[in-house]
Assembly symmetry: C2
Homo-oligomer: 304 residues x 2
């Protein structure tokens, strides 16, 4: 079991969906990732919060043995995202992005993080993603996410980081935007040409595509959820389950490990969408996760 390093946002989210709404709920990619991954493996967080970040919210990670040495508290407000979903729960509509203390975020790793073996660069400025990579001495496996904003505004920097990581996790819509392809399968092949040895395309309720340079495709449908309350954080939860699984193995992942990682990541993401924010994910135990995995496996079983 190795240490996973994650860099990403620690945030408050105000979210409206067809089912209801929450105001300033704990969120941000690093929180979703860490809560998910810490069920499986130790996690180290790099991030920044404002002086309004409550000690209770900090405890959400501390209670789970997540290392917060790399979390800085700055004067000012914590990053705040506000958005809504209509009936198409696969796509968030942003109302406001208040970067606040996140605007000047400069990720400096504490020395104790330098030996991290698994590294996930959540969706932040690619220049900062690169800066984090620079500070890790000998990672075993590194991955990144990104979004439309960086694809449009910092494409060159983004492509540079992409050529340095082993795996890209990206939403279907953004995979098409980055490659100018209309088809997700075809986008996955184009993305492999940009450097990483594997790519996971996240398709929301439809599941994921894993494409590996040497081993080819693996297609996994999502765990079926009849009522999606709030899809926020599902992708970062997936990433947490994904890297948590790889870190449990500890060595450079084989194709089978990547498949298993997709499976566990999807199982965990299915909890996240069942309630607002982190509420449902926080309540997951090893036992409830194992049970869900068994049911999930049954939904997929076929003898042909």
């Amino acid at each position: 079991m190795s240490q996973i390093l994650v860099v990403g946002s620690l945030a408050y989210d105000s979210i409206k969906t067809p089912v209801g709404a929450v105001n300033r709920a704990l969120g941000g990619s690093a929180n979703y990732f860490s809560v998910a991954a810490s069920l499986l493996s130790p996690v180290r967080v790099v991030g920044v919060v404002g002086s309004d970040y409550s000690s209770e919210d900090k405890k959400t990670l501390e209670k789970r043995d997540v290392d917060l040495t790399g979390m800085t508290v700055k004067p000012g407000q914590t990053f705040h995202w506000s958005g809504f979903y209509d009936d198409n729960l696969n796509e968030a509509q942003t109302l406001a992005t208040d970067l606040n203390v996140f605007a000047d975020f400069d990720p400096v790793l504490p020395p104790s993080y330098h030996d991290s073996k698994f590294v996930f660069l959540a969706n932040i400025d690619p220049v900062l993603q690169a800066k984090v990579l620079d500070q890790v001495q000998k990672p075993v496996y590194t991955g990144m996410d990104t979004m439309n904003y960086w694809i449009q505004s910092k494409r060159a920097d983004l492509l540079k980081v992409l050529s340095r990581v082993q795996i890209l996790l990206i939403n279907e819509g953004e995979s098409k935007m980055l490659t100018a392809e209309a088809n997700a399968i075809s986008a996955s092949y184009q993305l492999l040409k940009m450097g990483p040895e594997a790519v996971v395309i996240k398709r929301g309720e439809y599941g994921v595509i894993l494409n590996h340079k040497e081993k080819g495709l693996f297609i996994l449908p999502a765990f079926p959820i009849p009522e999606v309350v709030d899809p926020t954080g599902a992708g970062d939860t997936f990433a947490g389950g994904f890297f948590g699984t790889l870190s449990q193995v500890g060595t450079k992942p084989r194709f089978e490990d990547l498949k298993k990682a997709c499976f566990v990541g999807s199982a965990l993401a299915s909890f996240t969408v069942q309630d607002f924010g982190l509420k449902s994910l926080i309540a997951v135990t090893s036992e409830t996760l194992n049970n869900r995995q068994k049911i999930y496996q049954n939904y997929l079983l076929i003898s042909t």
Copy 2:
């Protein structure tokens, strides 16, 4: 191996997609269904064509040992559909529906069809679907498809047929329309309450959901195709592969048979979308189908 009866359209389609276009290509649900199913099991067709229907197009089915005793030729033009797809290949945009001889279609089964064991009612007027069911003596397994037009204009008749069949095969969008649900999983449960013992929701490039009243869910992603040329007929091809597989078993299908049928149906549908109209599907042999199934199986394999 039993005989499958299919009732549906025999048509000419004019189709435009981002990749190209065809004019008056052979199409219609009964043609796609029969070409697919006849790779696996004998098929009987009920349908109507106009005097313009070419003898070569008739031979497309005859060469495959499809029984055309129930195909009537009427004075006038064959059913003609014209439509296009934009980059969202999951949804067709209709330009014109010229019913022609199909407008007065009155399906009367030849006596030799009355003992059919497997029956598929493709997407036609639910009143006609019921009329076909009335004429089959002791079917083992019956299924139907439908579309937005019938859901809106003949809902009561549609619900009556739905309560008489064992399985509904329906597009995701139409499953939501029929049930007023925003979520496909939830729609599948609502559809089971309307009568059938199983339902398959077809999600285009994302695959299918099978929900069985007693056995629960099975989720299958589509066979990945990097360049979709023309998705027309994919759903009817799926249905043909589905019923062809069930008919090979011959007895009332078990849950495992339904899963296998989804798998074979999806494999066949993946050929259909690779070229315009029936072009790619017609070229499929038992060998190319088996090869694709092996590759498909590999894309899905996971040991957890």
